[in-house]
Each structure stands twice: as C-alpha cells, then as structure tokens.
C-alpha cells in the first residue's frame, strides 16, 4: 500500500546558506499516528514546511499518498496535508469560526450545501459546533486550537500535521485535545517535544536531530532509552516514569 507520507533523502539549506536538513528519510503508513520529536532548532519546523510545499526541497523528495510535492501539484498537496500551526491566532484569520473553517474547502471550489455540511461536520468532530458563528478571538485558547484542527479537517486531508499541539494548553484542554485526536480517523504526524503527550497518542516516534532522523521506533522504546534522549537534548519531565 502507498504510504500516506514518504520523505526520501530530503535536504534543505536556507537562502542565507544555513543548512537545516541533511537527508531526512522516513515513511508513514495510512492510519498511523507518529510523533516527530526533537530539540529546538533540530529542523522540525523546516521539515513541516516541506510537507505541503511551502518550502521546496533542495534535494530529495516528499510524496503524499504517492503524489510528489512539486510546483504543479501544490493545490492537491495542500488539500492532502492538513497543517495545524502552533499559534491558533495565525491559523484562524477570518472574522468568524464558520468562515474560517469554510476557507480551505471553498478554495478547493466547494460551495453551497456541501460547504456548509463540511463546516458543520468538521466542527462537530472537534466538539466546537456551538461556536460556529462566534469570532475566533472570543474563544479560549484551547477552543481556538480545536477550531484550528477543524479548519484542516474540513479539507478532508490524507494526513494531519500538528505543530506542538499541546503547547500553552491547560491540563484539561490538553486532555480534551488528546481525546479528539485519538478519535480521528486520519493519519497524524505530531511535531512536539512534549514526550508524555507523544507517548499518550502515538505508537511510533521519530527523533529529528541535527537535520537527520536519529531514531525511529515504538514510542515507548524510544522514550525508555535515556542515553538516546540525552544525546538529542530530550528528557522526560521530572517525576515522570514510563507506565
């Protein structure tokens, strides 16, 4: 079966010459939930920007469900890859929740009844249907992040890519988001350095460090290897023991 996401020998240097990725290799199968772990500055965000073609590979390839990311395929790629940004205020730019969730599918040329249906369905999946006519800035931070997830769900993506989904959430919002993510029937790539959250949600974890994939395995095993974690500036929070 074609993997949802396939990254092969991906390398990238910023225009100023800083090399961020040095040949990244991995594949994610359909329906998998994978955590991408790594310290600050490891190239996580740079990698994410390649997944939907905002940055174009200096070398190597990215393919989403078999379709390579290149100039001609960007529209379809952006439908297939749902990117949820870290700051929901960046993601929610329309005056009301309804218009924001409709923005993506409307850009795909969907309108009328079908559009309304998609908006309601996506909001229902994150439990935010009652906020449909409210302006995003009147919602709590946790609610805004859930709406941000809905904005990409409405595009019916092949893979959901979340950048630090648990950052700035209070414990209850964090748990609610985890429940929602676990209930979704899509492939998920979760970029984070919240290791317990990765363990809770993802069976498999990758460590991106120094621009390459330094580890790839079951999350529990990766997190149990204290030496490996320490080598890449990752550590479990104080008092946390693998259950």
């Amino acid at each position: 079966m074609t993997p949802s996401l396939e990254v092969r020998r991906l390398a990238y240097a910023y225009p100023d010459g800083t090399q961020a990725l040095f040949g990244v290799d991995f594949a994610i199968g359909r329906g998998e939930r994978v955590a991408l772990l790594g310290p600050n500055g490891a190239g996580k965000t740079t990698l994410v920007m390649h997944l939907n073609g905002i940055l174009t590979a200096g070398h190597g390839t990215v393919a989403v469900a078999g379709l390579p990311v290149e100039k001609g395929s960007l529209k379809e790629i952006r439908r297939r890859v749902g990117l949820v940004f870290q700051d929901p205020d960046d993601q929610l730019f329309m005056p009301t929740v309804r218009e924001d969730v409709a923005f993506g599918p409307a850009n795909l040329g969907i309108g009328g009844e079908e559009l309304q249906h998609r908006v309601k369905d996506a909001l229902e999946r994150v439990g935010m249907l009652e906020a449909i006519d409210r302006p995003p800035h009147h919602l709590s931070f946790g609610q805004r992040r859930r709406v941000a997830v809905a904005t990409v769900l409405a595009m019916e993506p092949e893979i959901l890519v979340l950048d630090e989904p648990s950052s700035n959430l209070d414990p209850a919002s964090r748990r609610e988001l985890a429940e929602i993510l676990r209930g979704l029937d899509v492939t998920v790539l979760m970029v984070t350095h919240d290791l317990p959250y990765a363990l809770e949600l993802c069976d498999r974890a990758l460590i991106l460090s120094g621009g390459v994939i330094a580890a790839d395995g079951p999350t529990r095993e990766v997190l149990a290897d204290a030496e490996l974690l320490a080598a890449h500036r990752l550590e479990l929070p104080y008092g946390f023991a693998l259950p």
Partner: protein, 254 residues
C-alpha cells in the same frame, strides 16, 4: 483585556433594516449623502425633511435616539470648526445678544453642520444595523478592490490581538519600573512601537503561510452568498429616492 467587544457601533437586531443585504445599505447611504450635499444650503426645510427620513429609518431599525447621539461624538471636531466660522468670517455682519457675527460665516457654519450631521447620522445608522464584516463583504460586492477589502478584513480580525500585544509590552515596561511621564521617555515608547510593528509584520507572514497551506491563491473564496433581490434593492433605494424627490421638489418650488 483583548477579548472586549470592539464592535461598539453595531447594535444587534432583527429588523427589516438589519436584514437588508449590506451592499444595498452601503449604496443607499452613499446616494443619500450625495443628495444631501447637492442641496443648496438656503433650502432649510429640505434639510428638515431629510432628518425626518433618517428618523423613519432609525425607527424601522429600532435604534433609539440616545444610541445615535452617543455615536455622533465623532462629529465634534467639525462642530468646533463650524462654530468658529461666524466669528472669523468676513463680509456683512449682524449683531445678536451683543455679539457680532459674519453673515457669510453663519451660512457656512450651517452648511457644514447640517450636511455633516445628516451624513454622520446616516453612517451611524448603517454601522448600527450592519455587522462590520458584512459591511466589508458588501463593499466587495460593490466592486471595491478586493485587496483593500482583505486588508480591512484582517484589521478587523487582528485588532484585538495587536492591542493585546501592545498591552503586554506596556506591562513588561512598567514591571521594570518604566512609566512614560515626560518627553524624554518618548524614545522608549517609540522603540516599543517599532518592536510591535515588527512583531505584527512577522505575524502577517505566518498568517500568509497558514493561508497558503489551505489553498489560498490570491483571492478570497466566496463563502457567504450575499446576493440581493431586486425587491431588497428597491427597499434600500427608498431612502435616497425619497431624498431625491425632496430635492427635485424644492427645485420646482424655487
């Protein structure tokens, strides 16, 4: 806090005026303003009739006079200017209560006051019955350049975010013992303003990335169907239409 309701001009309701499509209302207000401006200032009673027309609209929209009055504050600078005119005007003068006024100045003041007041009331009524975002969508339907509409749309969305950021920066300054008290503190405040500009600019870049990620290709998709029926255009046309009848009627009499 940044979560305040900044749409203070809008007064939610469900009246025939609220329900009219925004582009009809925008066009009606613009038409009305044109008729008012075209009316010679000497036709005092025509202005009275215009005011009655607006009162009828306010009644239909259930906007109370107190609401209108409070929102008319924006006019005050013009009022101050208009009040000065009879004193500083040239030409023939009249005396009243022991003070001398310029006749030309009095007419000029009346002209500004009457026309500005009617225009302001019409605009306040428009704002009170139309959500800001719908107003922008209406403007887009009236062929206002889409880029301008998008800029205004983002301003509407991010105003609170930026004001909140500004407040946090001020709190951060004051927490470290700084309070702007005199002119010498201006450079510090100016640097904060510069930092705020850069932060907002960077946010703009991130928002643009988020838009690209969801398939944005230069134009906003149509999400809300705002088409207006000819009946709605007719209803909205009643205000400028009636004003035009008044104007033409006065012309016939004069």
């Amino acid at each position: 806090m940044g979560s305040g309701h900044h749409h203070q001009l809008y007064r939610p309701g469900d009246t025939p005026v609220h329900r009219l499509p925004p582009q009809c209302k925008l066009a009606a207000v613009a038409g009305f303003a044109l008729v008012v401006v075209a009316t010679p200032r000497e036709w005092l009673w025509a202005f009275g009739l215009y005011a009655l027309l607006l009162a009828a609209v306010a009644a239909a929209a259930r906007v109370p006079p107190s609401f209108l009055l409070r929102r008319m504050m924006v006019e005050i600078p013009f009022v101050v200017f208009a009040v000065a005119l009879p004193f500083i005007g040239f030409g023939e003068r009249v005396s009243f209560l022991g003070m001398s006024f310029s006749v030309a100045g009095l007419w000029a003041a009346w002209n500004i006051l009457a026309k500005a007041t009617l225009g302001v009331i019409a605009s306040v009524l428009l704002a009170a019955t139309t959500e800001p975002r719908l107003m922008l969508l209406g403007a887009q339907r009236l062929r206002l350049p889409p880029l301008l509409v998008q800029i205004a749309m983002f301003m509407l969305r991010y105003m609170d975010v930026i004001v909140d950021e500004m407040r946090r920066m001020r709190v951060a300054r004051e927490s470290r013992g700084f309070a702007a008290r005199n002119v010498r503190h201006i450079p510090v405040v100016a640097r904060s303003a510069g930092a705020l500009f850069i932060r907002s600019y960077e946010r703009g870049e991130r928002v643009h990335l988020a838009m690209l990620s969801r398939g944005y290709s230069g134009s906003m998709p149509v999400i809300q169907d705002l088409s207006a029926s000819s009946r709605q255009w007719l209803v909205a046309g009643m205000l400028p239409g009636a004003a035009l009848v008044v104007l033409l009627g006065s012309w016939g009499l004069a």
